[in-house]
């Protein structure tokens, strides 16, 4: 019932029962389906147990630490798998011998490429679901921070910041942050899958696609590493090394965006105290949540545009 309602929101060609989508997704054997369900069940029970533990012990710090690396790892895996699933889109069709036929039709190529892009979300739905549930646990912890001081915690953190904002604006910005935080893994997968589509369309040699894919993954992993370590340290830990150098607002904003967009995708920023420090330390830091949402929306739009452009390019007749 719920899944029918969910899929009814999709364009017809993006629903799993559409012939193109069926041919991409293929059938899943019963044993594999059961294994996936068991794994998903275990993840959900595990996260639920962690949430209950957090509620009972009120030790949010332990929960944050416990979930942090598994969640970052799952996010990285989702992004990389998203890239690999689409980077051979054209090569796979060529191997099947359907590419030339598709090119003869009016909408065959664009539809197939867009379907392959959307299929990534179907294929990664369990992983993305687990990631989003994990991130919702962090949002729960953030909300629990906001309930401190009988719901007056936000008032405290916006006092004395530059520029001054009213509580209503601060709440709106927090809502924007929370929205971006939930949407970001989906958008990250959309972007990586779109890059995969571009690779498959622009580079025909499989070996070259593989090398470029490794390069993209390498750059991404480097960004994640820098985001999780150095940027985290600069923003959160403020070690003594920082006191020896000037830490300008530009540097701060750079580290902040790197940490939020590539590092742990904003997980560390779900601590209200951290956000409060950012608001006090950086000029216009209070607007981080709004900027974060804007970047996520723009990234989503860019991913969509990249797929549309790649599909148009691929649909052009090949010169012989």
């Amino acid at each position: 019932m719920l899944s029918r309602l969910w899929f009814s929101q999709f364009p017809e060609w993006a629903r799993p029962e559409h012939p193109i989508m069926r041919s991409i997704l293929g059938g899943i054997p019963e044993s594999q389906r059961r294994r996936r369900l068991l794994l998903a069940g275990l993840v959900i029970v595990g996260l639920f147990a962690v949430a209950v533990y957090a509620y009972v012990t009120t030790d949010a710090l332990v929960v944050r630490d416990l979930l942090y690396y598994p969640l970052v790892f799952a996010q990285v895996v989702a992004v990389i798998v998203g890239l690999t699933l689409t980077s051979n889109a054209v090569a796979t069709e060529e191997q099947r011998g359907t590419w030339d036929t598709l090119k003869l039709t009016l909408v065959g190529v664009p539809l197939t490429l867009r379907a392959r892009w959307i299929a990534v979300f179907h294929q990664l739905r369990w992983l993305l679901g687990a990631i989003i549930i994990g991130r919702i646990v962090y949002l729960g912890l953030l909300l629990s921070d906001i309930t401190e001081f009988q719901g007056r915690a936000l008032d405290l953190y916006i006092s004395g910041i530059s520029p001054e904002v009213s509580l209503d604006v601060a709440i709106l910005i927090m809502v924007a942050f929370m929205t971006a935080f939930v949407m970001q893994p989906v958008v990250a997968v959309a972007v990586s899958a779109a890059i995969g589509v571009i690779l498959s369309v622009t580079v025909r040699s499989r070996a070259m696609v593989f090398i470029l894919m490794l390069l993209v993954i390498g750059i991404y992993l480097a960004l994640v590493f820098v985001g999780v370590t150095f940027a985290n340290e600069q923003i959160l830990e403020r070690t003594q090394s920082l006191t020896q150098q000037d830490f300008s607002d530009t540097q701060g904003w750079g580290s902040l965006m790197l940490m939020a967009l590539a590092g742990d995708m904003g997980i560390k920023l779900t601590e209200l105290e951290t956000q409060g420090q950012i608001w006090a330390d950086f000029e216009y830091g209070i607007y981080f949540g709004a900027i974060y949402l804007a970047v996520v929306v723009i990234a989503g739009s860019i991913a969509n545009a990249l797929v549309v452009i790649s599909a148009k390019r691929a649909a052009k007749p090949t010169r012989t």
């Binding site: 008032d155 927090m174 920082l242 006191t243």
Partner: protein, 240 residues
């Protein structure tokens, strides 16, 4: 893309509702300080534990008994009480009422165990002055880290317009004062109201700038050598 926009809208609205609900908590729950000070309707926050200025010491005893205070000792011009948690019986702090020569209440002070800067600000709003007493610093010896220059520094939060003063100790690292601010979780060790607060150096005290603002801003220049012109407090904890 339409699905993305729909999803974004739905998540935004759900988050808005949840966060709005959380923030609306303030309209249903009084602050921790208000609950603990057992203020009465007649004088509100200006009258803690029901003790009003110039109240006879017998009436003070009755009011504090009503607020749940347990008689600790009565020495000269100080009446001291212990405030147990009504549910657990655990000690929540000490109340000290200073009497004038005629035996009337002059000042009520509270030495709380678990009140924080955040609790105070969410009750009384932003203070007018915040002062870090650099002369009071005491070194912290840490077994883990020897290289950090960590100190405990005394601070005062002042609301001169309401004659309120709050004091406590702040853990600071002198090497990077620019990177540290006042955490809302910093514990308050003394709250006094109302009274004869007559701050001689008040004009030199730095203005309150906010939570997590550089600590450097809160060192008075030139730093006063004594905090105020009141009679020195005798820490009631030493009589335990």
């Amino acid at each position: 893309m339409r699905l993305f926009a729909k999803l974004l809208f739905v998540i935004f609205m759900v988050n808005g509702l949840v966060l709005g609900g959380v923030a609306a908590q303030r309209y249903f729950f009084p602050t921790y300080v208000e609950t603990m000070l057992a203020t009465n309707d007649a004088c509100g926050l200006d009258c803690w534990f029901g003790v009003a200025e110039e109240m006879n010491h017998r009436d003070v005893a009755v009011q504090i008994d009503r607020a749940g205070g347990r008689d600790q000792n009565f020495r000269g011009s100080f009446m001291r009480y212990r405030l147990p948690d009504p549910e657990t019986g655990e000690n929540r702090g000490m109340i000290q009422v200073t009497l004038d020569d005629s035996g009337n209440a002059l000042q009520v002070c509270y030495f709380p165990k678990d009140v924080t800067v955040g609790d105070v600000i969410s009750t009384f709003g932003d203070p007018v002055k915040f002062y870090l007493d650099s002369n009071s610093r005491r070194e912290i010896f840490s077994r883990i880290s020897f290289e950090l220059e960590a100190y405990i520094v005394h601070f005062e939060m002042i609301y001169p317009d309401r004659e309120l003063v709050f004091e406590g100790d702040l853990h600071i690292n002198l090497e990077d004062l620019q990177e540290q601010g006042v955490s809302p979780h910093t514990r308050i060790s003394l709250m006094c109201n109302p009274g004869t607060i007559n701050y001689f150096w008040l004009n030199n005290y730095p203005d309150w700038e906010g939570i997590y603002v550089e600590l450097e801003d809160y060192f008075a220049s030139p730093p006063p050598t004594a905090s105020d012109s009141r009679d020195a407090f005798i820490d009631p904890l030493q009589f335990r």
